[in-house]
Amino acid sequence: MNQLISLLVENEAGALMRVAGVLTSRGYNIESLTVAKTLDPTLSSMTIVADVAEESRVLLIKQITRLVNVVKAVDLTESNAVQRELALIKISSVKPEMRSSVAKEAEIFRARIVDVAPTHYTLEVTGSPEKIDALIDLLHHYGDVEMTRSGSMAMARMPANRLPYPMFRAEPSAEESQTTPVVESK
């Protein structure tokens, strides 16, 4: 089963390479990976979905946490987290009499039609990965489907400082940030 990992990393060159490197050097396939900056522009958040055996998950989190650029790593697999994905789906070769049905299906899934042409529709849908899978399965009945998916984004339901599961690295406290090494002048 897939492991869902949420990371806070320094927003600098090489951060993605290091995190991906920890996974690839151990032979784990990355199913999806999203990365973008946070409210603090010096930090990026990453969500990774990877095929990692259950017994290796704690170790993997620790190995990622060990990276100097990683501020926080949390395993959200078993936890109460909101997980969402965005997909753009293009459906073509729809029989003229079925076009309105496609629009109806889209409505059921709360997908928006973002582009319309005589030959195809393009839909935008967000939701859990399972919901998107279901919509795609359904649309296959109406025509040829092309799609691009964002990969999962996840967020714990609780504020970060109240998470019930182990946090392998907390935000440095005020006291800790003050003890950051400073070069002594000679």
């Binding site: 060159a13 990276l67 650029n69 690295r169």
Partner: protein, 577 residues
């Protein structure tokens, strides 16, 4: 405040961090750095191959505990460093490597001597940097030293583009540093973990302290000896752990693992409580993991949380600096000694006796010869001269294991071995670094005839810088360890291991380098030759022809359980009267 170019800021920053010597090799993009070094008082030693610059920096770091420094140019210079970086990563040795990079305007255009050093060394370092802005340089160097030397030590590489080396800016001795918010050190153990550890320890009836390189890094040798004394627990150590306890100590057993002593392997296999300190339950230590120490509960103390539960599940894990963790545990043990120590004392005493009986029945042993020099006899003789006080650096293979078995070390930081990565060609350059770091110490490097040829160019560095390194070649004419496996597991089909063809005449080779060299073949001549080597004020090459087909025993075959040792010539000796 002064206007300086990047090259000078680099050198001033290295000096500020306390660098004493840089092992390096110049090239196109690092010429500005060497221009600064031309009349700077920071010492630079010109090696003959960049890999050996990294090994020499390690030699310096392993001997002193300080951060070693090496430097190479872009492209091939950087790729040549890589083996030495991975080696330092595997053995947790603090070094900072500086590499030049092509100018930013050429990056990504397959420029001459361009390589993606930052990408290539991602998995070879604890952390690495690509400096593209001169304003970052001074701070990056500070961070690099801090990261290399703190926590679990390791190599840090700083790749600097040529345009940064040439740009100018104001250099401040004390730059403001941004916090390393992703790099948190946990040095002090949690009190709850300490209490749990102490309960664990008092419950032990058959304890075994399994001590590793983390004790050397943390200078926790006194604390581990004290722990052993408080519990009356026998101590076994890894190849990295040499020197953590004086070998004459009544609780000292020996090295454990694939070629460890019989008693050490039996001790950890039969114990009920493993106390692992600064170790990683490496496959060369545990043998077949699922059959390793089946009855033992595990207390694992390490500064790196990744190590806890990585290979062997720990019943109690303590994350912290080995010195602080052991001090806290010892303190608590002493406080609770009165009511607790008697409970399992009898069982622990009996267990200690049993381990020492194993030790007496199965010491390291071999068939002596007065015709040929047995490799074990060579190591015993070196031990006689080193008296547990000399620095000994080794290469990789049979001689490494015999040296680890027969040479004793009374204190930490005397033994240097490429233990995790097992890089041949390590002995001479690391010995060079050690001798530069400790000019008053006697330093032997021991190489096999295979590894010697890999590090041969560094003889020129040793001679050129008049580093009085005592270089010993244990010459059996083979890649002996590969041959041993071919002997035992491949029907003696000795494929591509014969190193005799083309091996140079050592006295002539030494003469051509302008130093003394001797070849010995007879056991009777060995002591005199070693004495001559020590008496010689300068470097010396001693080529010792040893028995060709000799195997290292005990040996745990790959994939075997640790208590299934091939004893070979290690015959039990009679005990008692």
């Amino acid at each position: 405040m002064a206007l300086m170019n990047g090259a000078r800021i680099l050198i001033e920053s290295l000096a500020r961090e306390g660098a004493e010597v840089v092992f390096g090799y110049p090239g196109g993009v690092t010429i500005p750095v060497y221009d600064v070094l031309y009349d700077h008082n920071l010492r630079h030693i010109l090696v003959r191959h960049e890999e050996n610059a990294a090994f020499a920096a390690q030699g310096f770091a392993r001997a002193t505990g300080k951060v070693g420094v090496c430097m190479a140019t872009s492209g091939p210079g950087a790729t040549n460093l890589t083996t030495g970086l991975v080696d330092a990563l595997m053995d947790s040795i603090p070094i900072v490597a500086i590499t030049g990079q092509v100018p930013q305007s050429l990056i990504g255009r397959d420029a001459f001597q361009e390589a993606d050093t930052f990408g290539i060394t991602r998995a070879a370092t604890k952390h690495n940097y690509l400096v593209k802005n001169i304003e970052d340089l001074s701070q990056v160097i500070h961070e690099a030293f801090y990261i290399a030397g703190s926590g679990r030590p390791g190599p840090v590489l700083v790749d600097i583009t040529k345009d940064v080396l040439l740009a100018k800016t104001n250099f401040h001795m004390s730059d403001k540093l941004k916090p390393l918010r992703g790099y948190e050190l946990k040095l002090d153990p949690d009190q709850a973990e300490v209490d749990e550890a102490v309960d664990f320890l008092w419950e032990a009836e058959r304890p075994c302290i399994y001590a590793g390189g983390g004790i050397i890094s943390a200078a926790a040798h006194e604390e581990v000896v004290k722990l052993s004394e408080l519990l009356g627990a026998p101590l076994v150590h890894t190849v990295m752990g040499h020197g953590c306890m004086p070998p004459e100590h009544p609780n000292y057993v020996s090295m454990l693992g694939m070629h460890g002593g019989y008693a050490a392997n039996m001790c950890i296999s039969r114990c009920d409580s493993i106390i692992g300190v600064g170790v990683r339950f490496d496959d060369r230590v545990t043998g077949r993991l699922d059959r390793f120490a089946p009855e033992a509960r595990v207390l694992h103390i390490d500064i790196d949380p990744v190590e806890i539960n990585k290979n062997r599940r720990a019943d109690v894990g303590v994350v912290g600096d080995a010195k602080r963790a052991l001090a806290a545990i010892n303190k608590r043990l002493e406080e609770t000694q009165a009511q607790k120590s008697t409970e399992n004392m009898k069982a622990r005493t009996a267990w200690h006796g049993k381990v020492m009986d194993w030790q007496a029945e199965h010491p390291y042993s071999y068939e002596p010869s007065d015709v040929e020099i047995k490799p074990q006899y060579l190591m015993e003789t070196i031990n006689k001269f080193s008296k547990g006080e000399a620095i000994v650096t080794v290469d990789v293979g049979q001689h490494q294991m015999w040296a680890a078995q027969y040479i004793k070390f009374n204190s930490p930081r005397l033994w240097q071995s490429s233990s995790g990565l097992g890089s041949m060609g390590f002995g001479i350059p690391s010995g060079m670094g050690a001798k530069v770091a400790c000019p008053d110490k006697l330093v032997f490097s021991i190489s096999g005839d295979g590894g010697f040829m890999m590090s041969l160019p560094e003889v020129a560095t040793v001679v050129g810088n008049n580093i009085p390194l005592k270089m010993i070649i244990m010459n059996n004419g083979w890649l002996g360890m590969v041959r041993q496996w071919q002997d035992l597991f491949f029907d003696k089909r000795y494929s591509e291991v014969d190193m005799q063809p083309g091996f140079p005449d050592i006295p002539m080779l030494a003469a051509s380098f302008g130093i003394k060299g001797v070849t010995v073949r007879k056991p009777a001549d060995l002591e005199a030759a070693i004495q001559e080597m020590i008496d010689e004020p300068g470097p010396f090459l001693l080529n010792v022809m040893v028995t060709r087909e000799e195997n290292v025993y005990p040996m745990v075959p790959a994939g075997g359980a640790l208590d299934e040792m091939i004893l070979g010539s290690q015959k039990p000796v009679a005990t008692g009267d």
